[in-house]
Symmetry: C2
């Protein structure tokens, strides 16, 4: 019944262009309106190269639209975290004990361009650029746009409007300001902001440091990370408080102070970044926010998806993956054959929201883990044990990180509950001296330890359930 329906998608970023492609494949008439210029036509060679972590949940969506083989060449596998200490010593901490489990670094721009190309191959998909959505009339299923080229304002109508216009969504703001229904909404900022920097390619075009890892310089109060790009460069991100501590974004105002801060804290990184000071003062400082809201939809008229519905902080590398998973999950609901958009939107939100809430919380947990916990003795011991479990008994254990990142067929919420319980079980057994060091373990001891961890995990989950009096 929905074929030939006119769908309006606001925003042609990663989520919007994937959604346009999928709905195009399903036969809908799709119009996409994007605020920015067409990124395929703008010269970005001089600009910054932004990359993202791309993993199994995102890959599942890419498989859904049949683009796996085209996306693969854009990916750089990262097998683990390369931890850099104050002295410049490094240690590779793998993401999983199973070799086939790794994440990828991918260029946001290249991936977006591919999705736009593929979407436009469908005659029933039209993408318009430089069209800024100013507000959405969700009662009449129309949206007001401003054409950035002509400055003209105009109204578009549709049978259903999907807003994939990101963390600052105009449609979400219309929900909030409209006060036509009870709209639960939150925006929460961390004390820290971020700034993108770069490690340029080596003279020979190669990589100046180890290519296949996500590099982390965790310093408790702040942190630096680096992800590789195909051209030999790394995109580096500094996460730092706006106004707390000896060094912060507000007081790093001179070349001398920036260099002092980096040479004290990231000596080995500084050596790779002769361009640091220019990057630092040219690039903006941006906030880190989490957005949650509900309902995502208004009747059968409008639906928020991707960052517009659930913006998260980047510390689990799941932002794009979660948005892509939205499309997979929405597609699954379309397959169920519900009679109208209102039912489809309701069913989708009911099954999906608990999972996007969970990844939002997990991403904040990981902020603290990446800054500091990776350096704690018991945390490291826990990770060693989990690597040994995954390597030796690959079918019997997945760490929280694996559950979230490599198990695309369980939801984020289930991954969070089980993963947190496992962490709690292991950390408490380590604190109580109930587990010896993994280095001294025979396979039999390791097996026994795994059983103890599983038993303790189940007990924690059960105790929590009883305390919550859930039925």
């Amino acid at each position: 019944m929905h074929k030939q329906q006119n769908i309006l998608i606001i925003g042609a970023g990663l989520c919007g262009s994937l959604l346009a492609l999928r709905l195009g494949q399903r036969g809908y008439n799709v119009t996409v309106m994007e605020m920015r210029p067409d990124l395929r036509k703008v010269d970005i060679s001089a600009g910054r190269s932004i990359n993202l972590a791309f993993s199994d949940r995102g890959i599942k969506a890419i498989k859904l639209v049949g683009l796996e083989e085209l996306v693969k060449p854009l990916c750089i596998p990262m097998n683990g975290r390369m931890l850099h200490d104050l002295e410049g010593n490094t240690m590779l901490a793998p993401y999983s004990g199973r070799e086939h489990e790794y994440i990828n670094s991918i260029s946001r721009g290249q991936l977006n361009a591919l999705l736009l190309d593929e979407a436009e191959k469908h005659e029933n998909v039209k993408i318009h650029f430089n069209q800024k959505c100013k507000s959405v009339d969700f009662e009449n299923t129309t949206a007001l746009f401003k054409d950035y080229i002509t400055s003209a304002e105009f109204v578009e109508d549709a049978d259903a409007i999907f807003a994939t216009d990101g963390a600052g969504s105009a449609m979400r703001q219309s929900y909030y300001l409209g006060k036509k229904f009870l709209f639960s909404f939150s925006q929460n900022y961390l004390t820290h902001g971020y700034k993108e920097l770069s490690i340029l390619p080596a003279e020979n075009g190669g990589y100046k440091t180890y290519k296949n890892a996500l590099h982390i310089w965790g310093r408790e109060a702040f942190m630096l990370i680096a992800l590789p790009n195909l051209d030999g460069s790394f995109t580096v991100t500094l996460f730092l408080s706006f106004d707390e501590g000896e060094y912060n974004f507000n007081n790093l105002t001179t070349k001398e102070r920036v260099l002092e801060f980096f040479s004290k804290n990231f000596k080995d990184a500084l050596e790779l970044m002769p361009n640091l000071v220019d990057d630092f003062f040219e690039n903006p400082t941006s906030p880190l926010g989490t957005v949650k809201c509900s309902p995502w939809h208004y009747k059968g008229n409008t639906l928020l998806m991707g960052d517009a519905a659930h913006a998260i902080v980047p510390f689990y590398g799941q932002g794009m993956n979660a948005s892509f998973e939205d499309v997979t999950e929405f597609d699954k609901v379309l397959d169920q054959g519900h009679p109208d958009w209102e039912t489809i939107f309701e069913v989708y939100e009911k099954s999906r929201k608990k999972d996007t809430d969970a990844i939002a919380d997990l991403a904040i947990d990981n902020f603290h883990e990446m800054k500091g916990h990776v350096n704690h003795a018991n945390f490291r011991e826990k990770r060693s044990l989990e690597m040994a479990f995954e390597k030796t008994f690959p079918n019997d254990y997945s760490s929280k990180y694996s559950l979230v990142t490599f198990n695309e067929n369980i939801g984020y919420r289930e991954a969070m509950l089980r993963g947190r319980a496992q962490d709690k079980a292991i950390l408490n057994m380590l604190a109580d001296g109930d587990i010896s060091s993994v280095n001294d373990m025979t396979n039999e001891t390791l097996k026994n330890t795994l059983e103890k961890v599983k038993t303790a995990t189940e007990a924690i989950l059960e105790d929590d359930q009883i305390a919550g009096l859930k039925k």
Copy 2:
């Protein structure tokens, strides 16, 4: 240094009038602007009588301003929850095993009038009514008002502005819309709304049901409560989903359906409410929302207090108490002699926000407890055990409810963490059969059980701390 400073308070509700009184007592020049007419001059005898739960944290603030003796005659002690089952059987579940621990029902209007009278006794305090705040310019410390009588708009300036203008605060909206700083903000609505009803006084002017209790008709999916008024009436509140379940606010649209719903679910209450149908269709249905935000202050210019900073749902009876406690805590910070408003506001928010966040979460927990858990066997057994602990060893145990309600010298957050751990300990011991029924216990067994609960509680708190890797 702050004497003779000009303070502008927006809102003369409970928090604003108490704050005006306290700042007046401290010698500041205080101007209060209130949107509504002066409630002391409006005839409210025909209107609804709204009452509130008033307990130790609120009493502490009233003592601070020296009004304890004037407030006492307005209070009706409620010693416990009177639970009404489907058949109309009742059971009194005390709030504490210690006799001197009880909560009070108090008229919002009478208490507010008293605070306004006392504030106005200070020459340096001026209160203006019918003055609606439209927005606040927090950078210039001015506020825009509309006079509801003359329709004139005008700007007021001050050395510092305090917004105590409730859950829909105009100043908080100015923070949000101004986008001049990173403003973390959430509004979260429950699926349920509420409607106020009433049990009128008996013919002889007495009470139609037991006076000294908070009556609860908990029915899992919805609930009715009643609190006594001085005139022999009870204010009754129905909490019900807007659109879920067989009966909800959206489908209770006829006299017949309302009567059917009440006779099926609240038979004994219906017998006391011949006026039910009129009340039901005359009174509005209102939403139940939680508001959190941060920062509360902008530099040393402006500060949000009370519901404007932290609106909570009513299920812990702590809304007014939390707002009054704001004034106590703010007064404590004033005593510390900080050099400027910015420092005062920062110190206040830093110490206070964790506690108002906690009571917001506790209030939502209690929504579920009051609707349903009070009827669960293990929940009732837990409460019996806690009553026995508090009665027999009054210095050795306080339940979560007691910690929150009767222990005004510990913060809400500490009460929440300890209270939740105790609940978890007891519920799990009951589920595991580690505790026999309290009725069969000798004093020695009771003492041993208390020690077991304390040990288990400490273990839970420690396990959580280790899992959080807190230092």
